[in-house]
């Protein structure tokens, strides 16, 4: 296995069932998810613009990382993809079918196709259920009626996440497992309905350093074996380069830069991305010598974001008269690398 993900590898993998032709697995088209704040009584006190114009395509076998700080809207984006929130504008398409047109049955099938790996492994598992029951629940909900069939699938998925010997774990409660093991159960649960898409929200940030790599490797293996599409949401840029092909940087509800991982790390364009990368230390004693450069201010409030480019109040390179007035569209200075910044307006 080579050190860095080869961007061409997954697309050409033997399990890939399309190579550009046919509808993408997931397609977001100018999706907005706004939450209305109700004033006491009647009337509205504005909206939280959590997702404010997000578009991208994802095919099977591809993985993207959505990177951003807290408050940038990435959790809301994830919940919109998972079907927990309805977009207020724009369209979300799964295999060409719009979510907005789905009835309850279709939504249930959609939910079976999307697996969710959460951040807090302990919180994600019902503490009063045994592992076996936890894993059977999605099957029961999705109307797999035969108990034997369910047990078979539970054992199958436990093997895949390497929680063996299976029988040792099935009868245990979540608190009897270590953090890493708990997270594997969460992954197993996400996989048990044989989804095509996995959404992982900071899957390793609550695990110890030594365990993180193990879990991320597992996810990578599962992705390759099942040709899954993976959306990986994180604020830890250092892990991204090992486990995703493309990075989307999110700021104040928008995807302000999208590129392949190596390209972004080598040649980041957006001033915010630059700031993020500059702020991440590697373990090196020389870090103690200087202050690290950090853009001033804080991420904007999503209820009342700054006009124009959302980053302009903190941007050292803001163009006066332009950046604070007009929202920059997607520019593509290089193929496959888009950035929402007036600096790249050709």
């Amino acid at each position: 296995m080579s050190a860095v993900i080869d961007p061409t590898r997954s697309a050409g993998s033997p399990n890939s069932n399309q190579s550009g032709a046919g509808a993408p697995l997931l397609s977001l088209q100018d999706v907005h998810t706004w939450f209305e704040l109700r004033k006491f009584g009647f009337g509205s006190a504005g909206s939280v613009r959590a997702v404010d114009g997000v578009s991208f395509d994802l095919r099977r076998g591809q993985s993207i990382a959505v990177v951003g700080e807290s408050g940038c809207g990435k959790s809301s984006l994830m919940k919109t993809i998972l079907g927990l929130h309805k977009p207020t504008e724009g369209e979300l398409l799964f295999e060409g079918n719009p979510l907005s047109a789905m009835d309850r049955t279709a939504m249930r099938e959609y939910r079976a196709q999307v697996g969710y790996v959460q951040q807090d492994p302990f919180g994600a598992l019902a503490p009063f259920m045994k592992i076996e029951r936890i894993l059977e629940e999605p099957l029961i909900v999705q109307k797999v009626r035969s108990s034997a069939e369910r047990k078979r699938r539970v054992a199958e998925v436990m093997e895949e996440v390497r929680l063996t010997p299976v029988d040792d774990f099935l009868g245990k409660f979540p608190h009897m497992l270590s953090g890493g093991q708990q997270q594997r159960v969460v992954i197993a649960r996400a996989m048990i309905l044989r989804p095509k898409l996995i959404v992982a929200d900071e899957p390793v940030s609550m695990l110890d350093a030594s365990v993180r790599v193990e879990v991320l490797r597992l996810m990578q293996t599962l992705q390759q074996e099942h040709n899954l599409g993976v959306i990986y949401i994180t604020h830890d840029l250092s892990t991204v380069r090992y486990f995703a092909e493309r990075i989307f940087v999110m700021y104040a509800g928008k995807l302000i830069e999208k590129a392949h991982v190596d390209e972004l790390l080598r040649n980041s364009l957006h001033p915010y991305t630059n700031a993020l990368l500059a702020a991440i230390p590697d373990p090196d004693a020389r870090n103690a010598i200087e202050l690290r450069e950090v853009p001033p201010g804080e991420p904007p409030n999503l209820i009342d974001p700054p006009p124009g480019c959302r980053f302009h109040p903190r941007c050292a390179e803001a163009i006066e008269g332009l950046c604070e007035v007009k929202i920059p569209p997607d520019f593509e200075p290089q193929p496959g690398h888009s950035v929402d910044c007036w600096l790249y307006d050709q």
Binding site: L84, M107, V114, Y116, A124, A126, F128, V141, Q142, R189
Partner: protein, 442 residues
């Protein structure tokens, strides 16, 4: 279970559990020893049911404290042939001689002396003369009587004795030692002789003499001569059943309603909260009093009202706080993503999550229910037919028990009520510490 191993560490839980166990044993024993129908019949009293028991008698073990109070002495000619002797005098007259000897060894006088006659005859009523013989040989004559069917002689009402002995209490007349200054009973062998004359061949007289004691049974008796054990025993299953059913049903209903409110939010939650708030400010006891006074005192009605009042109470508020937290849990979110429906999430995920923490509350609520029933009964608003502890207290209060020094009448039901409350409360608090780790002593 893990629960029991932790529970063992708390002595209060052990004591409380023991008390509850005793209560349960009592509650199971009651319907076995004394079936429900029988208990109701006894409690209702009526014709001759409690004829042979004394009124307001103390419990028999009272004598263990150095007293020597009399027990009831019963002699019955229908049961013992030797007591009767028939002598035919003439064709038309037969002498029926009944003799009731007994030993009296007590330090206090019997409460009452009654003789119950049963006579069989056609037309002519038998004549009765009675003579009382004391251990020191004195003979005292009672009034003569003609009896009809079943007649009862009450020594208290004997005018002849009253006249002959000039105002002295009849029972003292019969039993007092003439030589002592203060009335003290004379110990020894007494005899009541009943000389009856019947005027027909087939006619006969039978009698039963009862010298009512001042102690009786395990628990004593009340003003209607009822053995208090009936009500003390039966009070247990009634209290237990009432407490458990009301507590569990209202606890369970509160749980589900709170969960539904929290899950659906919006106006449903608001409605439930408003109903709860209004209900909490209403005075529960007053409502129960009104219902009992104007509508019905039946125990079933009380069950229903207590349950209803209990559902929309503080339990919903605290459950709601817990549910609000649980609702945000990641595993609930995960359940939504794999397609679980609202009902499944409420019943299989949210409720099981907080159920253990509510168990102590349910157990702790039981004594409250029991006390409420007792309170209503004491006020005279309880179910009049049921033998409950509260009813005993009510009878005691109405009949001035404390003024008359009949402390046992008040203490026995109070003690049982108290122990019940204590038992459940202690177990409830201990369980609280088991289920709520933050309260544990490390």
């Amino acid at each position: 279970m893990r629960v029991f191993s932790i529970l063992r560490k708390y002595p209060s839980a052990a004591v409380g559990s023991f008390l509850i166990l005793c209560l349960v044993v009592l509650a199971i024993y009651a319907p076995i020893a004394l079936p429900y129908g029988e208990a109701i019949r006894l409690w209702r009293g009526g014709e001759g049911v409690w004829k042979e028991s004394p009124k307001n008698a103390r419990p028999a073990w009272y004598n263990a404290f150095g007293y020597n109070l009399p027990e009831t002495i019963i002699l019955d000619s229908t049961k013992d042939e030797n007591l009767k002797e028939r002598t035919v005098l003439t064709e038309t007259m037969t002498d029926v001689f009944l003799s009731f000897p007994f030993d009296f060894t007590y330090d206090d006088f019997p409460q009452e002396l009654q003789v119950f006659f049963q006579a069989e005859f056609d037309e002519k009523r038998p004549l009765i003369e009675m003579k009382w013989i004391t251990p020191d040989g004195r003979e005292i004559e009672f009034s003569d009587m003609t009896i009809q069917g079943n007649a009862t002689y009450y020594v208290e009402q004997d005018e002849k004795l009253a006249r002959d002995f000039d105002g002295q209490a009849p029972i003292h007349v019969l039993f007092a030692d003439p030589n002592s200054e203060t009335p003290t009973p004379l110990k020894g062998r007494y005899e009541l002789q009943v000389a009856g004359l019947v005027f027909e061949d087939e006619a006969d007289i039978d009698a039963q003499m009862i010298a009512y004691g001042k102690v009786y049974g395990l628990a004593g008796t009340d003003h209607k001569r009822r053995d208090l054990m009936v009500a003390l025993l039966w009070g247990a299953p009634i209290a237990l059943a009432l407490g458990l059913i009301v507590s569990v049903v209202s606890g369970g209903a509160s749980l589900i309603i709170a969960a539904v409110g929290v899950w659906y939010g919006g106006w449903i939650d608001a409605l439930i909260q408003r109903i709860t708030e209004v209900n909490m400010t209403l005075p529960g006891l007053s409502i129960l009093i009104m219902v009992a006074t104007f509508y019905s005192k039946s125990i079933w009605v009380m069950f229903g009202v207590l349950t209803l009042l209990g559902i929309f109470s503080g339990g919903i508020k605290s459950s709601r706080a817990l549910f609000l937290q649980v609702k945000e849990s990641p595993f609930i979110e995960a359940a939504q993503t794999y397609g679980a429906g609202s009902w499944r999430i409420i019943t299989r995920y949210m409720i099981p999550r907080i159920l253990p923490t509510l168990i102590p509350g349910v157990i702790g609520a039981i004594p409250g229910v029991v006390f409420t029933e007792a309170t209503l009964s004491v006020l005279g608003l309880g179910d009049p037919l049921l033998p409950t502890w509260g009813k005993i207290l009510n009878d005691a209060r109405v009949n001035g028990a404390l003024f008359q020094g009949q402390y046992y009448w008040v203490l026995e039901p109070s003690l049982l009520l108290m122990l019940t409350g204590l038992g459940f409360a202690m177990v409830g608090f201990a369980l609280d510490r088991v289920f709520n780790p933050r309260l544990r002593d490390v």
